[in-house]
């Protein structure tokens, strides 16, 4: 950007800033995406989505996510109950997978993005390379939190034996899905180049 070029977000083509007339929304000549030097309103959009997901994270974990009916009795369980159940059954591998996907990953995304956003706001210039790597990791793991929702969907389809036993979703499923979507959108609206702008402006 300092050298008079803007790179397209979508296809990476470099466009000379001189070719762009002022006061005009330019489009990339190769892929026709709108061109911006940085993603528009990146910081405020990402902040909004991260705060939203932090708030939704509470009901997602405190409310029950699944209901098991067994011979007429109803039993609600939260995400943590499900994980503890696996540890009691000595299924440590599965317990760890679910714990990582549904608790650790969303928590890591929220905390990690907050650190990155704070360091842009206060122009902290250290550990930039690690923060960029962390952002790539957050981008990559985003989708894997949907795991628990898929498991509940499959359970409620397959475990349906009339009055004997059946499985149903419970309210936290909606909150949890919202958390995953918000954090994924937060990674999309965030522009990691903002981290490095503080560095290149003060050589």
């Amino acid at each position: 950007m300092d050298c008079g070029f803007i790179s397209c977000h979508d296809c990476g083509k470099l466009i000379s800033a001189k070719e762009i007339p002022e006061g005009f929304q330019p489009a990339c000549p190769r892929c026709s995406a709108d061109i911006h030097a940085r993603k528009p309103h990146s910081l405020s959009r990402t902040w909004a989505l991260i705060i939203t997901s932090a708030i939704l994270f509470l009901p997602a974990n405190l409310l029950p996510i699944m209901r098991v009916d067994f011979l007429g009795s109803q039993e609600y369980s939260t995400i943590m109950d499900g994980i503890i159940y696996f540890f009691h059954e000595n299924e440590y591998g599965i317990g760890l997978i679910i714990f990582t996907a549904s608790v650790l990953v969303p928590l890591f995304k929220i905390i990690g993005m907050t650190i990155i956003l704070l360091s842009i706001q206060f122009k902290w210039k250290s550990w930039l390379r690690h923060k960029t790597a962390m952002f790539h990791f957050i981008e990559f793991i985003g989708r894997w939190s949907m795991l628990d929702i898929f498991v509940i969907a499959l359970m409620s389809t397959l475990v349906k034996f009339g009055t004997f036993t059946s499985t149903q979703a419970a309210p936290a499923a909606s909150y949890f899905t919202a958390v995953v979507l918000c954090t994924m959108f937060a990674a999309l609206t965030f522009d990691s180049r903002l981290l490095w702008d503080t560095e290149s402006s003060n050589p």
Partner: protein
């Protein structure tokens, strides 16, 4: 003046670099932020064409054929990917149901059919104005198709219910397994830079012939 300078900008930190020659299979990393910039792949268009076509053949049985059959207390119960979406819908969790529909049913189909139509257009040199838009859509919506996450969820479910019922694996399970592999394979065979260059070349050719007409 050439319209593309021999420079590239790092997508993660915007460092401007001279575009080096990358040998096939080599990866290029940004010297400043260590993000991966580019990996050159061979024969990308042909591979994506073949893989997306075989993926599409598997799609209908993978989504609509039953994955597993459970047998417990003398009763049988089976379910497909589509049934799993329906069960959330019937429980009136519409928001979750829509997300489920998009991530497990719509986007895998969308990605494979988009890539198939793009590669066919490139192979046959059929340029249309929508081509850059289609390829852009295929790239930016890629992460929203989650058959790989779903596959792990199927394995978790199998372990969860293996203690309470006997499980039979059905056609849908095998097809979904291979569909997931095909979707992953398109991503690893896809070299966006090659595709953009092809699309760019076709665009120039089509405008040139239009001018000659």
């Amino acid at each position: 003046m050439s319209d593309t300078p021999p420079l590239i900008a790092c997508h993660a930190c915007d460092l401007l670099l001279e575009k080096p020659d990358v040998a096939t299979g080599q990866k290029l990393f940004c010297p400043r932020c260590k993000s991966q910039l580019y990996q050159k792949k061979t024969d990308s268009v042909n591979k994506v064409l073949a893989i997306s076509f075989s993926g599409l053949l598997l799609y209908i049985p993978a989504v609509f054929a039953p994955l597993l059959t459970l047998n417990a207390a003398g009763m049988n119960q089976d379910g497909s990917i589509f049934d799993a979406f329906l069960s959330f819908y019937q429980q009136k969790y519409y928001f979750v149901a829509i997300t489920l529909f998009l991530t497990s049913i719509f986007f895998p189909l969308f990605k494979l059919s988009l890539l198939l139509s793009i590669t066919i257009q490139i192979k046959l040199r059929l340029y249309s104005r929508s081509l850059p838009f289609l390829f852009r859509a295929a790239n930016s919506l890629d992460e929203w198709g989650m058959p790989d996450v779903y596959l792990i969820a199927i394995f978790v479910t199998i372990i969860k219910i293996s203690s309470m019922a006997s499980i039979h694996y059905n056609l849908g399970f095998i097809c979904f397994l291979f569909l997931t592999m095909m979707t992953r394979a398109t991503t690893s065979a896809l070299d966006p830079e090659i595709f953009w260059q092809e699309i760019d070349r076709m665009k120039k050719y089509s405008t040139k012939t239009a001018a000659n007409d």
